[in-house]
């Protein structure tokens, strides 16, 4: 059986090498790929969409439909984690509470909500690591900057590398950092499961909704130009704005999905105790 697999690998590799026989030269400006459609994108991007970054205009406008599904793929990943991992069960059987002043830890068997919300006690994880003051302070300081940067990346996609996916990832990372450096419950206090769920759906909904809005306004799906009917701009600028709206949607979904995947995976779907 092992040799069979080896044979398969060799076969695939040989087909791959065989394919290279007819490859155009590396970076050849006369290769078919750079003669057929690409020049159109390069020349017309700015006048069609008023977006100088060709990557963004191809991504979100010329082939915006693909990107919509890519965003949906991310949404689906979050959805799959929710469906497969989420356990709507009550809290862990055993809970631990720490008296903040004295540092005494109470191990409570069975369920209780008595000490929740108490000022003197804090709930801690069963495998508790004492709070690290350096980490907490630094992340508290850094997180706003990270989020600011994320917004910058989202907004700056028109001009420089960036856009919804990258910005969303950075935004999500900031919240995951919060959950790691404090604990899962702190992260969930800032943005709880319901919010994440709604955000992840809302983001893709914004993308698809903008497309559908174009449809309702009487043009093809995702034909942002028609948004000029409701926006006080010309069709080209409307395309640019449409792309921006879409990018925002992508960022929201990516952020929410990243965080919720982290939450579900790290807490085995209970959203009770994290890493």
């Amino acid at each position: 059986m092992r040799y069979l697999y080896l044979l398969l690998v060799v076969l695939s590799a040989s087909v791959l090498f065989y394919a290279t026989l007819d490859f155009p030269q590396w970076g050849d400006p006369n290769s078919p790929a750079s003669l057929h459609v690409s020049p159109v994108y390069l020349q017309r991007s700015l006048e069609d969409t008023s977006v100088p970054n060709v990557v963004t205009s191809v991504l979100a406008d010329y082939r915006g439909y693909d990107t919509m599904f890519e965003t949906t793929v991310i949404f689906t990943a979050g959805l799959a984690c929710f469906v497969l991992l989420r356990v709507f069960a009550p809290k862990m059987k055993d809970t631990y509470y720490r008296h903040i002043q004295s540092g005494v830890v109470l191990h409570i068997k069975g369920q209780t909500t008595l000490l929740d919300g108490s000022r003197d006690f804090e709930r801690i994880d069963s495998r508790w690591v004492p709070a690290d003051i350096i980490l907490k302070t630094i992340s508290r300081f850094l997180i706003p900057f990270i989020q600011l940067f994320a917004l910058y990346v989202v907004a700056h996609g028109h001009h420089s590398p960036g856009g919804g996916f990258q910005g969303g990832v950075i935004l999500g990372a900031s919240i995951i950092l919060l959950s790691i450096s404090f604990d899962l419950r702190t992260g969930l206090e800032k943005i709880h499961e319901r919010g994440l769920g709604l955000f992840s759906a809302t983001g893709v909904f914004i993308y698809t909704g903008i497309g559908a809005l174009c449809l309702i306004l009487g043009k093809e799906f995702l034909n942002y130009g028609v948004l000029s009917k409701i926006l006080p701009v010309d069709p080209v600028m409307a395309r640019s704005l449409g792309i921006f709206g879409v990018e925002v949607g992508v960022a929201i979904t990516v952020m929410a999905v990243m965080v919720s995947i982290y939450n579900y995976v790290s807490s085995e779907g209970r959203l009770d105790e994290g890493l």
């Binding site: 490859f23 693909d66 497969l84 499961e193 769920g197 759906a201 909904f205 799906f221």
Partner: protein, 495 residues
Amino acid sequence: MSGTMTYHFSVILVTFGLLLSFITYAMTWIKRSLCLPFAVLSIGFLSYCSFSLFILVIERGPFEYYLGGWPPPIGIAYYIDELNAFLSLLVYLVALINLLCNRERFLEKQGDRIGGTMALYILFITGLNGILLTADLFNLYVLLEIASLTGYALLAIGDKRQAPFASLNYVFLGTIGACFYLLGVGYLYIKTGSLNMQDVSRLITQIPKSPTILSGFIFILIGIWIKMGLFPFHIWLPRAYTNTFGPISSLIAPLGTKVMAYVIFRVILFVFGKEFSFEIYSLGHVATLFGVAAILYGAITALRQTDLRRMLCFVVITEIGYIVAGLGVGNINAIRGSLLHLLNDVAMTFCLFLSADHLIVNTGTKIEELKGVFQKTPFGSSIYVLASLSVIGIPPSPGFFGKWYLLQGSLEAQNFWVFGAILLSSLLNTVLFFRTFEEGYYHHTESPSYGPKKTSLSAYGGILASGLLVVLMGLLAHPIVGHIVDPFLLRARLP
């Protein structure tokens, strides 16, 4: 206005599918009890759209839809013809019936997660519809990812503990398949610079002998074959479909593989073209080989199974073999047979899995546990018998018509391998199904737990509807060939 609206139905089908699935998921966090009714309504609405689209295509002939208003090859286009409009209608019907039939079971199994499950459910059929309608090779890949991802997630919801592992196994193989497809599309792009099917097809005819194009062809073909579960690439299929939650298997088993089979036809006939595939390179021999192997392997291995649903999985593998073998024979009657069989198989496999699932709920998954089930649930089991007879190919069931064209085509091409394999597998299928009939029919169990599980009226309605679908497909076989399959073949420039 209404005319243009129906023109937009092509894209509404897919994008509103997305929108509705997002809302369904969001509903989890607003009012959970509304998720399921909303999902049912959504699929109902989409089925209606699909039906209007189908009527439109039948009335006016095929048309293109430019997404974002960019004409291809700059943008992405949809190409809607009779065949894919009909298949999409079938997909929605199957999804609707399956959901209606298994509402309670979904709710019981998934509880508070029902919103997410329903969103995945809608996304899955939406992805399949996108695959059907698109005319862009890369867009097809993206939608393939959607359909696969949702498929993995749905299949991991298991009756049995092995379900997640089986699904993981599928994830690995499915990813390899998708990668191969993407690699192939990449090679085509390197040599043509385009992703639109029509455009690529035009450009390929200028450089048919390029090794890169050939490699792309091979990779795309193998990628899709893995996804559709053709014989040597099928190993994920029985495990994934057997262990999963029953209503999921009755959704994915009929739809997943058949839509991929449609992609094969689309790619071979409309991208690479008949000359490239059959005359320059001898796809015919390869496909015949694989197809015959799949038919025989599926039919023989199915005989060895003790688990009912696993047995049906091998029946699915056999059916895939028919479709590929018909493609391999390559003349008009055989391909007509393949396509007709593909369409019929959606209905047949669906009915088979749905009714078998009903039997399984009442007894157990093993065939020997079926004892006396025909007395317990005479209605469900008679639909099971109907579907089985259709798979065997008893006229006037739909299975018969597909086989007839396949046999006629292979006889015309003097391809006796395919001819013999189809006949033999029909006979083996007879043995196979009558084995289950015997178990169900003969043994009385007079135990105190005797009596059917409580089954709601809608479940019976769903099973009945699936049976009716099979009967209708059989009765309408000739119009289907005349109005749906033949125009498709005509445009593929088959004689």
